[in-house]
Symmetry: C2
């Protein structure tokens, strides 16, 4: 497996575009299209928030009921959440407009939105945007890159990646793009993620692969603990790589899952590191846990803790805050038996053992914590299970962004 | 029942003091003593964090096993948490020192600490502080007020209150003090709360009264979602009011609980409103819930949401964030059937109904949200149960305080 250039257009047969539709933002791309020349199997994971945006409801139905999927229309600026009946009608109108122009059924069109909650969508500008997207779609790196820019809200950088692997003697490509960067606490974050592959794989296994993957990738990141109304990850597979269809677990499926994991971990880390106002990626690795689920809960509790996040922002080796977050996670353990370590490109430090702080240099600790990617490792000494969670520090900028997000 | 002047020294027989012991802070009071002239029944509720500070462990044992309690020694600056064996030895030494000077058993002395986690306590300064406290203790308003100041960390104001009520023909007084203001998410916040009363009530009913009370008071506040290692609320009753001992539920017990509730709600609101960096008290009232527990979970989810807190700081009527927080709370409800209201001293507004925003003035909404106490009410239309939770807005100052708390 190797990383290759590009994102959602890296796999064979996928075209994309990003345009300025002025949905809410001005002078920037705010609508994206992903289109496959041939029908795709589709898998999706969606927010578990009870308040679900209209496009989430639309996509859930499409992924469950449609025989195939061939396009995804995305806008930033307005989330089409808490918009009642008019919001659902807008989804249908989007899908019908794209379907007509692309000569595919409306039920083969997925839609996704991110932005302000509670505002109604400007349907005329949306349909004009779709017309432009269909005209400009292309199978080039530029097409994918335009789309990755168009889905950004408070993100500071676009996030895309692609990998190649060999499955059944054929080169299979899997690419993806996603956006953060606030209201990120995927239970399934508004994260939106779009993954495309030319692998030939049954819809059933595609869904299993995505479902099993997000538990340890997108669901292990948090920027602010708020689970969005719009979280959506979609995975489209058009089969153009020509490998023998993957219909059962085995080496081919494993190779596919490995490629998927590489792409989703990359995107998840990018999303966390580019969290609203973030100055650092804050990774927590829990090892020696009694169960995998314990390890996940412990790691996520640490990266979600406001005080731990503020300590990372301050480059402050306030390890008690990390222990405190482990302690209120709900997982049972012996605090006297936990070892804590700090790691970054600036060095490594064993900071806490057997219930007490070790004799460490505050200066060295501060140096380690001032790197752009910081890892706190907790060894629970209870078993062999591990998990990693990704968050970011809590900065003045986060507050600023969110105190006047709508203006 | 009426509010009277004072705090922990308002009830008969209670003395208090606050002194400068230089535990960690300089030039401010940082140790407090509460002392009752006669033995007290005691009740306590403590952090449910698995990582429990040494004084929490000490107090749990005392409250469970000691026949009576007569003194509480408190310090700010260092939390005596994550301090292993030496931390426990320090608690014993504190209790022994105070016991000897006050001529009471060490097992009748409760201890509490708040401040930095992981640092060992300077025992010599602590014992010198206790000597000074015992010399300076007094039954005056000043004594209580000195104690209330000494327990502050990042609090901007001391928090104390007292009420009088009549039980069995006798005037009974109940007073209290507490401190916030970060790592506040009591499951039982570091909140520390100390309540004193001259009511005559059995230890068993005293414990029941406190246990039943905190569920809807201290446990319904959050500043940052971090449940401290040190949370402690202690309630001491010395019986000097001379009422017939309350040994069973009934009108006397109800009158006592009502006085307790008045004091704890006052202190809980003060703590939330004085949360680290807070510019406003952020109250969420959930009505029409199917169960009391649902109402509590929903209300707390809203006041804990970083994005909702940031919206309050920005005076931004971003109601979708409140709905979003209700939606991920875990409680089941129909989002199309929720009504949302904003209230403050600046006015009232019905903002969301039947799945859509109502036609409201952004200007009016911003005015309402710019008051020092803001209430968001959610009517779930599912039943008759209600709950109230108290938090605060999320400001630049919160980040500043916590990015360099130890320096």
């Amino acid at each position: 497996m190797k990383q290759v250039e590009g994102g959602v257009t890296a796999a064979k047969g996928f075209l994309a575009a990003g345009v300025e539709a002025r949905v809410k933002y001005q002078n920037r791309k705010d609508m994206a299209l992903i289109y496959s020349e041939t029908p795709c199997a589709a898998a999706g994971t969606f927010t578990r928030n009870l308040v679900k945006a209209a496009p989430v409801k639309w996509d859930q139905k499409v992924v469950e009921e449609s025989p195939f999927v061939q396009a995804v229309v995305v806008n930033s600026g307005i989330a089409n959440a808490c918009t009642g009946g008019p919001g659902m009608e807008c989804c249908r109108a989007e899908a019908e407009c794209a379907g007509k122009l692309l000569h595919i059924p409306a039920e083969a069109v997925l839609v996704a939105s991110t932005g302000v909650i509670g505002m109604q969508m400007p349907l005329e500008r949306i349909t004009a945007g779709i017309e432009q997207l269909v005209r400009e779609k292309k199978a080039t790196l530029q097409g994918g890159s335009d789309a990755a820019r168009a889905i950004m809200t408070t993100d500071t950088v676009p996030k895309e990646i692609a990998v190649e692997t060999v499955i059944g003697g054929k080169t299979v490509t899997l690419g993806g793009m996603c956006k953060g960067s606030g209201m990120i606490h995927p239970n399934m974050c508004t994260m939106l993620g779009f993954l495309t592959t030319d692998a030939c794989i049954s819809a059933e296994l595609l869904k299993k692969a995505l479902r099993d993957d997000v538990i340890d990738t997108f669901n292990m990141i948090s920027v602010d603990g708020d689970t969005s109304t719009n979280d959506t990850v979609l995975l489209l597979a058009n089969g153009l790589a020509g490998n023998e269809e993957i219909t059962a677990p085995g080496p081919d499926y494993d190779a596919f899952c490995q490629a998927l994991r590489f792409v989703t971990v990359y995107l998840a880390r990018k999303m966390a590191g580019d969290g609203e106002g973030a100055t650092a990626l804050f990774e927590c690795r829990v090892v020696g846990a009694a169960s995998k689920q314990d390890a996940r809960i412990l790691a996520k509790s640490v990266i979600c803790s406001s005080l731990s996040k503020a300590a990372i922002f301050g480059h402050d080796a306030n390890f008690g805050r990390f222990l405190c977050a482990l302690g209120y996670s709900g997982v049972s353990f012996d605090p006297e038996n936990v070892d804590l370590y700090f790691d970054s490109e600036n060095g490594s430090l064993h900071i806490f053992s057997q219930g007490c702080a070790l004799d460490y240099s505050e200066e060295e600790a501060a140096k380690i914590l001032s790197a752009p990617e910081v890892t706190v490792t907790a060894d629970m000494h209870m078993g062999a299970e591990e998990a990693v969670a990704w968050g970011c520090d809590l900065s003045y900028e986060y507050v600023k962004i969110n105190a006047d997000y709508r203006s």
